[in-house]
């Protein structure tokens, strides 16, 4: 019983990180209709932003946190404005944009490597302590913070998308860009906001990883694959579905390694990705809210 609970807790924690990555990715994808795989690099860069502000410049942790979130959001906007937008203005196809996104991912990872080296970094904000016992399972304070932060972000995102004018405009652009333009919505501005908010969420994921684990220059690639897989499992055309899919992925990975060696953890997500792409590309709930 305690083993199952422990596995479930681990799955939810991993799922929270994946969900933050996938929600940002899905938000950007739905508004702009192309795959921004460089989102993974934004996540890694935000980890290094935090490392830079907190461990190198020695700023107060909460200033470091705030600056990291702001810089992460701005990095996303910058990528959109200086790379994707000029390509879109030249009528670049989605394949070109996809190649550009992978190039940015590699470029940013190499920039991190150049500036910080290949070694694993630890921001050493949290002292390693014994976690809290919960029906035989153990959870650390940092892990509780990760779970709560993710939930808070998703509640914020839900209200933002459903109750604010900007959120409704984003949903409208996601669904039908031409119709949105007919009702007077400036879809380029909406794209700006989607990159800002999506990268902000990615930045939050980067921070949580930096606080709980270590950061490495290439961590963005695997996180992007996990976030993408989560989005595909839930349904890439809906942000809540992508979040749900990411939690399911986190649980599947952790329950999977109860029966398989832990080295197969990544393999589980790849297998799930292939299975969903082959047999249910619209995801578990992604296809249910289609228009007639």
């Amino acid at each position: 019983m305690s083993l199952l609970l422990q596995v479930a807790i681990n799955g939810l924690i991993a799922g929270s990180i994946y969900a933050l990555v996938s929600s940002g990715f899905s938000l950007i994808y739905n508004t702009n209709k192309f795959m921004h795989f460089a989102h993974g690099a934004s996540v890694a860069v935000s980890g290094y932003f935090l490392y830079g502000f907190f461990a190198i410049i020695k700023l107060n942790f909460f200033y470091s946190l705030s600056l990291t979130l702001i810089f992460s959001a701005l990095l996303g906007l910058l990528i959109y404005r200086i790379i994707y937008l000029p390509l879109q203005n030249r009528k670049a196809s989605n394949v070109i944009l996809l190649i550009a996104s992978i190039s940015i991912l590699i470029l940013l990872q190499n920039l991190i490597l150049l500036l910080f080296g290949a070694n694993v970094k630890d921001i050493e904000f949290v002292e390693v302590k014994k976690g809290l016992e919960f029906f035989g399972a153990v959870i650390t304070l940092t892990q509780i913070v990760i779970l709560l932060t993710a939930v808070l972000f998703f509640i914020f995102l839900y209200f933002f998308m459903n109750k604010t004018i900007l959120g409704k405009n984003m949903r409208a652009v996601s669904e039908n860009k031409e119709l949105a333009s007919i009702v007077g919505i400036n879809s380029r501005k909406i794209s700006d906001f989607s990159f800002l908010i999506g990268s902000f969420l990615g930045g939050a994921a980067g921070i949580l990883i930096a606080v709980e684990q270590n950061i490495t220059p290439t961590m963005g690639t695997i996180l992007m694959i996990k976030g993408f897989t989560g989005a595909v499992i839930g349904g890439i055309s809906s942000v809540p579905a992508a979040v749900l899919g990411s939690y399911l992925l986190g649980l599947a990975e952790n329950f999977g390694i109860v029966f398989l060696p832990s080295g197969y953890k990544d393999a589980i997500s790849f297998v799930l990705l292939f299975l969903f792409l082959l047999f249910r590309p619209e995801g578990i709930i992604g296809g249910k809210r289609r228009t007639k």
Partner: protein, 236 residues
């Protein structure tokens, strides 16, 4: 009111409209009919900046509106109900109407206008909080009309509004369009259903190969040999 002069327009270097001249007067319904590919929708898309204009002028109330951005056109009182999907299915009925009213800053005014739309189309009030994709085809078209009317337009551009509707719903839709005209709104309607459109309109233009081939009132157009043979199957 709306005056299109010698309009040349198209897409990706292909000229679809080859010098169109067209007028829509105040409180007038004007129909634009013609075969597929004649450029009917391109006329409306040109007004709304969705086609590449290579020559000519578009005046609305004596102001050149060529190249105006969508929100500027909406402020001028020009509203467009596009072909096909006219609503946001994943937004509720109310959210769709709110989007239509997005240029109105006064929240009370928005509420008033939504109430007025609910009064006009009561089904929308009943389905207010439902996602629009759950509405029937006819109800979706009503919602599209409601969304367009909420801006209190001076002219409504309708692109194939009856597309995909059953004959019964088409009849209801055309009755609604007549009522809209009575409210003082001019209408430029592009329709595949030539007979219905001609009967509805005060004047009709026949568009062929990007040029106006014929123009006249309903009676004249319906009796015209060319229309009878080509568009009404010679049986009217």
């Amino acid at each position: 009111m709306l005056h299109i002069k010698n309009l040349h327009a198209g897409y990706n270097g292909l000229e679809i409209l080859k010098g169109i001249n067209l007028k829509v007067g105040k409180k007038e319904i004007v129909a634009l009919v013609g075969p597929n590919g004649a450029g009917k929708s391109t006329v409306i898309k040109s007004i709304f900046n969705l086609a590449k204009i290579t020559g000519g002028y578009i005046f609305f109330n004596n102001k050149n509106i060529l190249g105006l951005k969508t929100h500027e056109l909406l402020k001028e009182g020009v509203c467009y109900l596009n072909q096909g999907r006219t609503i946001f299915g994943n937004l509720t009925v109310r959210e769709n109407l709110e989007l239509g009213a997005r240029l109105i800053k006064n929240k009370e005014e928005v509420k008033k206008r939504i109430s007025a739309i609910y009064k006009k189309f009561q089904i929308l009030k009943k389905r207010e909080n439902d996602f629009a994709y759950t509405l029937s085809g006819g109800q979706q078209q009503v919602l599209g009309l409601g969304r367009a009317l909420i801006t209190k337009p001076k002219i409504l551009l309708l692109d194939e509004p009856s597309l995909g509707l059953s004959p019964k719903l088409q009849k209801e839709l055309f009755l609604m369009i007549k009522k809209i005209k009575k409210d003082g709104i001019s209408i430029l309607i592009v329709e595949q259903n030539a007979k219905k459109a001609i009967e509805l309109a005060d004047r009709t233009y026949l568009l062929e190969d990007g040029k106006i081939a014929l123009e006249g009132s309903g009676g004249f157009i319906l009796k015209h040999k060319k229309i009878k043979e080509v568009y009404l199957g010679g049986r009217y």
